[in-house]
Structure formats: C-alpha cells, structure tokens
C-alpha cells in the first residue's frame, strides 16, 4: 500500500523535476515542477477530436494502457512492506501486464491509419521487445542470488556485502535506468522534444490522441517513471525502517529525475538504426550480472 501511495505521489512531480533540470541546464527559468501535472488536469477537462478512421480500439486503448501501469505498480514492494499484490514470480506478471498495455498502445496507433503513427508503433514494438530479455535476465540473476522469486523477497534479501555485489548493484541500476528510458521513450533512445515526426517514437504514436485520453497517456508515463524509480530505490534500502526508507526513496527518485534531465540536456539521441543494437547490449550487461551472481555463489568454476 505504502509503495503505491508513494509512487503516485512522486509521479506528480517527477516529470516536473526533469523539465526543471533541463531548463536550469540550458539557462532558462523554466516552469514550476507541478506544471506537467497542471497540464494533465487541464487535458482531463478538455474535449477531444477523434479520427474518422479509428474504431473502438482507439477508444479503449488509453484506458487499458493506464490500467496496466496501475496494475504493475501494485506489484512493487516498499522495502520490508509488500506491494498490494505479491506472489512468487510476480515480476513475470509485472512485465507481462506492462506488455498488454503496450500491445494496446501499438494497435491504437495503427488504428489511425496514419503514415507516421505506424512508424512510431513499429519502433516501439521492436525496442520494447528487445529490452525485455534484459529485464528478465536481471531478475533471474537476482532470484538466483537471493533464492526467492518475488519482488518483495528478492529486495528484502538482496544486500551489499562483497565488492562484486556493489558492482552488481551498479550494473542493475544501470540496466533499470536504461529500461526505464526505453519504456518511457526518453533520451538516448528517443527524443521527446523533437519536432519532426519522422524522428519520434512514442510522441508520434499519440499524435491523434487528445483530451482525456491524452491526459491518461501522459500521466501513465509519469507513473511509469516513478515506478522504475521505486524499483531502483528498492535495490538499496533492504529492510530499513520507514523513517529512513521514505527519505531515501524520495532522494533516489529525485536523483533519478535529475539525472534523466541532465542526460537529456547533454547527450544526443542515438541514430535510429543503431538503437536496436544498443538495446540488445543491455542484455549482455544483464548477462554480466548473471555471471557476477555465479561468482558470488561460487558456481562459475
């Protein structure tokens, strides 16, 4: 329960921090950190324009996408407190329920019959597909290391002891950050601020969404960011009591948001044709983690 509340709370200002960081880095004054949320609330009140080409899929897809993100958040634990849903192998459910949201967002893009949105859909489908093995290999290695198969138990028993485990923590954080960037279509993979439809991924998929639906999609992105932030935070606070873990959680989320902002300010997007290769290398980082775990367990030789 506590993780759900905290993630929803953080989602309100996460993108705000990212935008604020970017504006400071580029020497602008920039909007306040609640501005993205205000925009979303305004969108909720607005009317909508639907394309004549679309069918019922286009109407239901944003709701399903949003619901899938909510469902995934329910699985995330908070330190020693279980998520609302917790069972053995819940991270498999986590990944698959996110996938159903993605399925619907892709087909809703195809529903518009546009030349641009299909392009975004194709890229999103390919990239998220390539990112999936990295997540599973990472969780599989952690499951092997800790001997458990649910998010809660894995994070409870995962703790830092040897040098290798520090290296594992760093690599796991890297993989999770990168997966978050891919899933949210942010900088090294996709540039949310680009103005050319041909170079977009996620933005071009939602070109035809407006009003309430667009608000849902935008807020789902915020929630997804906070959700991955919570996963990363969970790596670090093990079974600390709440009065430590909540501040640590907030600090890690803010750090995550700031680093996303910095990354977007100072790096350029990768070439679209090289994205696939880059994403697939994440799996090899996950494999490194797997071999690190084998070294800790003494099974390598």
């Amino acid at each position: 329960m506590i993780s759900f509340i905290l993630i929803v709370l953080v989602s309100f200002f996460f993108t705000g921090i990212v935008i604020r960081t970017k504006s400071i880095a580029s020497g602008r004054k920039g909007p306040g950190i609640f501005q993205p949320m205000k925009d979303i609330f305004r969108l909720f009140k607005k009317g909508a324009v639907y394309s004549q080409t679309t069918s019922f899929i286009f109407q239901i897809a944003p709701s399903i996408y949003f619901a899938s993100v909510i469902m995934a958040i329910l699985v995330i634990p908070f330190g020693q407190y279980k998520g609302i849903i917790s069972f053995e192998g819940d991270f498999v459910f986590f990944a698959y329920v996110l996938a159903i949201g993605k399925f619907f967002s892709i087909i809703s893009a195809l529903d518009t019959g546009s030349s641009f949105e299909g392009m975004g859909a194709s890229r999103e489908a390919l990239y998220s597909m390539l990112a999936e093995p990295a997540f599973f290999l990472l969780m599989g290695s952690l499951a092997l290391l800790t001997g458990y198969t649910s998010f809660h138990e894995i994070f409870m028993t995962f703790h830092f002891g040897s040098y290798i485990s520090y290296a594992l923590g760093v690599m796991a954080t890297f993989v999770l950050v990168m997966i978050a960037m891919i899933e949210n279509s942010r900088m090294p993979i996709d540039d949310p601020k680009t103005h050319l439809e041909l170079t977009m991924i996620h933005e071009v998929m939602i070109l035809d969404n407006s009003g309430f639906d667009l608000g849902l999609i935008l807020h789902a992105t915020n929630l997804k960011f906070a959700m991955y932030g919570a996963l990363i935070a969970n790596l670090y606070f093990g079974s600390l009591p709440l009065y430590y873990s909540i501040p640590i959680f907030l600090v890690i989320q803010s750090l995550f948001a700031v680093s996303v902002g910095l990354l977007e300010s100072f790096t350029a997007r990768y070439r679209m044709s090289h994205n696939a290769q880059f994403i697939f290398t994440l799996s090899s980082v996950s494999l490194l983690i797997f071999f690190g775990v084998l070294m800790i367990l003494g099974k390598l030789i």
Binding site: V49, S63, M71, V97, A99, G113, S114, L126, E132, G211
Partner: protein, 675 residues
C-alpha cells in the same frame, strides 16, 4: 467395451449415410456423429482424470495379438482437448462449407475424412498396441491429407497436400522401425513391452530408441527442422481444418513424445537437454519467420511452430527435473506443457476460424491487401483480438497461465542447479522472453493491419460480418480461454493426475511445496480479475469525465497534409521493416523492386519473399541433389512403350533367372569341390 462398439457403429453408420445426402444437409450427420463420439469418449476420459482409468483388452487377430485399449489420465487430457476442438471445428465448418455446396462428392469425402480423423485421433490416444497404433496413425494421416486437399483442383493445394503426405510417411517410417525393433527384441506389440525393453537394454540403446521415436513424433508436431510441411499445409486447407490441424493434429505428436517419455525410463537429463535445445530453437525460429509472412494463414502456421516450441520447453524442463530429481521442476514443466497444449488448441483454432471469416468475406488472406475490417466485422475483430492477446501470453488470458507455470518451473529450478543446467535455464528464460516479445510484435502487425486503419485494396463487395453459426464456436472458445485465465486452479487440479503419471510423483497436493504453487496460480486468477476490474474502473471514470466534454470527428493528423489516402498508411511490410533489417542475416529474404525512374515513371512496386533457410538446407537442397543424381538414369525413361515392356520382361526374367543361376553356380562349385 460397449463404448468402443458404440463408437464404431456410429462411425460406420454415418460414413454410409453421408454420400446419399443433399449437400445442404450433408454437415448434419457428421455433426451428430462427432458429438456422439465425443460424448462417448469423454465419459471414460473424465473418469480417468478423476482417478479411475479404463482398460479394455480386445482379443484382436492372429497378426496383431491382443489389443489393449487403455484410457489413462494422459490420454484423457488429450482426448478431451481433441473432442472440444473437433466440436467447435465442425460447427464452424458446416457454415464455412456452405460456400462449396456445389461440389457434392468432394463434400462427402471431406466429411467422411473429418469423422475418420476424429475417431482415429481418439484411437491413437487410447490404443496401446504398437501395430494397431501405426494403423490408426496411418488412418489419421491419410484422412488429414484428404481434409487438406479439399480444394484439390488448385495445383498449389495439391502440392502442399502431397508434401504433407510424404513427410507424415517419413514420420510413420521412423515409428514403424522403432516399434519393429522393440517387437524383434521382446516379441510383443503391447506398449508395456517398450517399457520392459527400455529397462532391459543399455542406457545408450534406450536413448537411441527415444531419439528415433522423438524424431518420428517431432515431424508430426512440427519441431524445427522437421516443420517444413506445416507452413504449406495450413494455408492450403479450409479454415476449420487448419484450426483442427494446428489445434490438435500436431498435438498428437506431443502426445506421442509424452507417452514415450512415460514408457522409456532412460537418461532423462540427456533427453531433457535435447528436447529443450530443439524446442527453444523451434520457438524462436518459428516466431521470427512468422513476423515476415504476408499470408495470414502462413503466419499462423509459423506461430504453431513457435507454440510447439513453448510446449517443448515445458517438456524439456520436466525431463531435466526428472533427471536431477527436482520434483518441483518436473511437475511445473509437464503441467505447463500440458496446459499450453490445451491453450494453444483453443486460441490457435480461434485464430484460424477468424482467418476463415476474413477469407470468406474479403476473399483474400494477404495481409497487405486488407485493412479496416474492424468496422465491417466488429465481432470477428473482437474475437481475433482476444485470441491474439492470448497467444502472446498476456494476462488475463489462458496463454499467460501456462507460460507463467513454465517460468515458475525455471525460477524454481535455478536454485541448487549445476553450471550446465543454469546455462540451459538462462537460455530458456531468454528464449521464452524473446518469443513473447516477438509474438507481440507479430500480432500487433497482424491485428493492426487487418482490422485497423483503412482498406488497402478496393473490395468489390464490402466485407460483411460472418454468420452467427460461424461466430458461435468462436464465442465458445473465448469463454474457455477466459475461464482458464481467471480460474486456472480448476485446470491445474485436472492436470494433477496426468502430471503425476508422467513424473511418478503421487499427486500435486500431497507435497508441501506444491500447495504454495497452487496458491500462486490461484492468485494469478484473482490478479487477472483485478486487472479486468481496474480497466473497467478507469474506463468508467473516463466515461463519467468525458460525458460533458465535447468531441468531434476529423481526419487523421497528416502533418499538415490533408490529402489522406489509404495508400499513405503504414503497411505490414513497413511495420516489420526495421525488424527485417535486423533479422536479415538469419533468413534469406528475396527482394524485388522497381523504382520510379525518368520523367514519365511507370508503376513502381516492391516485393519481399521470406525464405525458410532451414527448409532450404534440410529439404530443398538434398532433394535437388538427389534429383540431380537420379537425372543420370533418365536415359531409361525413353517414352517408348516397347522399351517399358522390355524393362518389364527383363525384370521378370531376372527375378526368375537369378536364383536359378545362383543355384547353378553353387552346384558347379559343389561339383568342383567334389572333384
């Protein structure tokens, strides 16, 4: 005993009646017959699943000796799956075949083959005499062949059918050889003899026998590299036949493999590695080729190979579990495999029926020509969507449950595993995840281009929603898909006996560990329900919020360009283009195109033909070589009847003369010796 005679009487009577009926009502008799046979065979099956297996010993003939008919839990699971798919198949098929009612005799042959296929499949699952098993297997293969070549006037269909016929006979050859080997050593056709033989022979002998049988059954099941008949036969057959072929006929190969695993207690670890490796390759290779297909039914056929791969991963893990005596792993592996067998028969037949609806209303299954069908055929679109989600293994549908069981098996297995096993487990996780991701890619392409957007091709008749009789069996399947997705524990309970039969572990509920698994699985059901609930709530809130908001319709955003035509939308080929670029080194994609050139450019076009490299390597290339070699003897084929009569005469003379000359030579030698 009565049941067997009753089934035989019903089948023979209906076979006799069918040819004499008018073609409008020809479907009725097979419908009644299939339903009666299903009910009759389901009674002992349900009994067997609750723990009371049936054994009937028929006296047989002098050649076959006694014929034991045993319906145990494993057979029962497959018989029930077969019955359900055949019932939905015939309900769908009757209205599908209305379009062909002029071909009276062809229809008779079709329905006769349908009944024979159904009965012989049930027989294959229950007969345990290897000679009779081969005979029923042959009846099944032949009737499936006649079902496939319904449109035999098209050369393409006939070619696909003959390809299937040849390959299924290679399978029969391997099975026959293995059974003869066992018979030669034990003198008995009973399946128990296989068990005794495997116990008495060396470990290596058992392994060879197992692999020989595995390949025989794998051709039927469609494991890579024995899959090449599948993508040809499925598109050629009528929709309901593709549905039952993909749904249950290829599963009979899985049944055979499981039955042999149960009988041949040999080096399970080696068998497990072998099956796991071949399955992961099948899974990934099947779905990777599926993405590139333009023909919807061919695409679905490649997906069958992928799903056979997933089932095989379950079986392989189960065998490894038996080998390293990890009960959890073997239970979860086999239950995942068996449940996925049922699941795949459901959503794959649903997808093929959907493809049939598309074919009969749009008269093409070429994805590139379709589009926007969702508006004309909303219900078919909805049913196809459910099946697509289920085949991708997404919650809250049934595919997720079986894939989740296999995942839990792997994650339970990785503790206390050796390095080699760990590598196999990581490889299978990687394979399963990649298969899942690629399946999503493939079905967003298929569903998105067929049902969404606007038509890519001018239809002479506006596509219409299909008749209720066609949608009824599809809704039946959807109900079962959702039931498995939301109440998986019921099916897991039903699986406990077949699985305990395979693993030799008494029952799932007796082990303390197992209760936690069934708890987890039941939780999957609740969580899926919760997900549906949340979707409902979000949708409700959306409705409440937007009811007062204004909305209007307009054209799709075209980046400022408003001259929208359907030609501008993304096509299936362009959707998979970036994937094709990545996968190109693995496949040979033949591309042909003509660019726009000059001041008055003609028509530009672009074609891609994905080629199956493994088929090229294992089937087409050797056959080309063989043909080349045999070409040296073409001189004999002069085309003159006189020559052929001469060959016959020479042959007869040789047949008679050779033994004579042989005995003459022998006697000459004897005479010389005596000297």
């Amino acid at each position: 005993m009565i049941i067997i005679y009753a089934i035989l009487v019903v089948v023979f009577l209906s076979l006799l009646i069918i040819p004499f009926l008018r073609s409008e009502v020809k479907g009725i008799i097979p419908l009644i017959s299939v339903i009666i046979v299903s009910i009759l065979s389901s009674i002992p099956s349900i009994k067997a699943l609750t723990g009371e297996s049936t054994e009937i010993i028929l006296s047989g003939t002098l050649v076959t000796s006694i014929i034991p008919v045993r319906i145990d839990a494993l057979s029962a699971w497959f018989i029930l799956t077969i019955n359900f798919t055949f019932i939905t198949g015939i309900i769908y098929g009757i209205s599908y075949m209305q379009a062909y009612k002029k071909q009276k005799s062809n229809l008779s042959l079709h329905w006769i083959s349908y009944i024979l296929a159904h009965t012989s499949l049930i027989a294959v699952c229950s007969v345990q005499n290897s000679l009779v098993f081969i005979i029923t297997w042959e009846i099944m293969a032949l009737s499936a062949f006649f079902l496939v070549i319904f449109e035999s006037y098209s050369a393409k269909t006939l070619k696909a059918g003959i390809n299937y016929l040849i390959q299924s006979h290679v399978s029969i050859l391997l099975l026959t050889l293995s059974f003869i080997w066992v018979f030669y050593r034990t003198g008995s056709f009973d399946f128990i003899a296989i068990k005794d033989f495997a116990n008495s022979t060396t470990a290596f002998g058992g392994l060879v026998l197992m692999i020989c049988l595995f390949i025989g059954f794998a051709i039927k099941a469609g494991f890579v590299p024995f899959h090449t008949w599948l993508p040809l036969a499925h598109p050629a057959a009528p929709a309901h036949i593709s549905g039952i072929m993909s749904g249950v006929i290829i599963k009979i190969g899985i049944y055979g493999i499981l039955r042999m695993i149960f009988l041949i207690r040999t080096d399970y670890l080696a068998i497990g590695y072998f099956i796991l490796f071949i399955s992961i390759i099948s899974g990934i290779y099947g779905v990777m080729l599926a993405i590139l297909q333009h023909n919807l039914k061919r695409l679905l056929a490649y997906h069958s190979i992928e799903n056979i791969g997933i089932i095989g991963i379950g079986i392989g893990l189960g065998c490894i579990g038996l080998g390293i005596e990890n009960n959890m792993l073997s239970i979860l592996g086999f239950s995942g495999a068996l449940l996925h067998t049922l699941n795949h028969s459901l959503f794959k037949s649903l997808l093929f029926y959907g493809a049939g609806n598309i074919y009969q209303s749009a008269h093409t299954v070429n994805i590139e020509q379709l589009g926007g069908l969702g508006k004309n055929m909303a219900q078919t679109a909805f049913l196809f969507l459910i099946a697509s989600l289920a085949i991708c293994g997404l919650p809250p549908f049934n595919g997720f449950v079986s894939e989740f069981i296999i995942y839990s098996g792997i994650f339970n297995g990785i503790h206390n595993a050796t390095f080699l096993n760990l590598m196999f487990f990581i490889f299978s996780i990687f394979g399963l995840v990649l298969i899942g991701g690629l399946a999503i890619f493939c079905f967003t392409k298929a569903f998105g281009t067929i049902f969404l957007g606007s038509p890519r091709h001018l239809f002479h008749h506006q596509p219409q929603e299909s008749s209720f009789a066609k949608r009824l069996p599809m809704f039946l399947i959807v109900i079962l898909i959702l039931t498995i997705g939301i109440f998986p524990t019921v099916f897991l309970k039903a699986l406990s006996l077949p699985v305990s039969q395979l693993t030799g572990i008494k029952s799932i509920d007796y082990l303390p560990l197992e209760t936690s698994i069934s708890k987890t699985i039941s939780q999957i059901g609740y969580v899926s329900l919760l997900f549906i609930g949340i979707v409902g709530v979000v949708f409700f809130i959306r409705k409440k919020f937007t009811i007062s908001n204004q909305y209007r319709m307009s054209s799709t955003w075209g980046c400022g360009y408003i001259g929208q035509t359907s030609k501008m939308q993304y096509t299936a080929s362009s959707f998979v283009r970036n994937y094709r670029k990545l996968a190109e080194p693995l496949f040979s994609v033949h591309k042909f195109k003509r660019d726009l050139k000059g001041v008055f450019p003609g028509k530009a076009w672009h074609e891609t033909h994905p080629k199956d490299k493994i088929e090229e390597m294992f089937i087409s290339h050797p056959i080309r070589q063989l043909k080349h070699f045999l070409n040296y003897f073409s001189i004999l084929q002069s085309g003159k009847p006189q020559m052929y009569i001469l060959y016959g005469a020479v042959f007869i003379t040789l047949i008679i003369a050779v033994p004579q000359i042989y005995s003459l030579v022998i006697s000459v030698f004897k005479f010389l010796n005596n000297l």
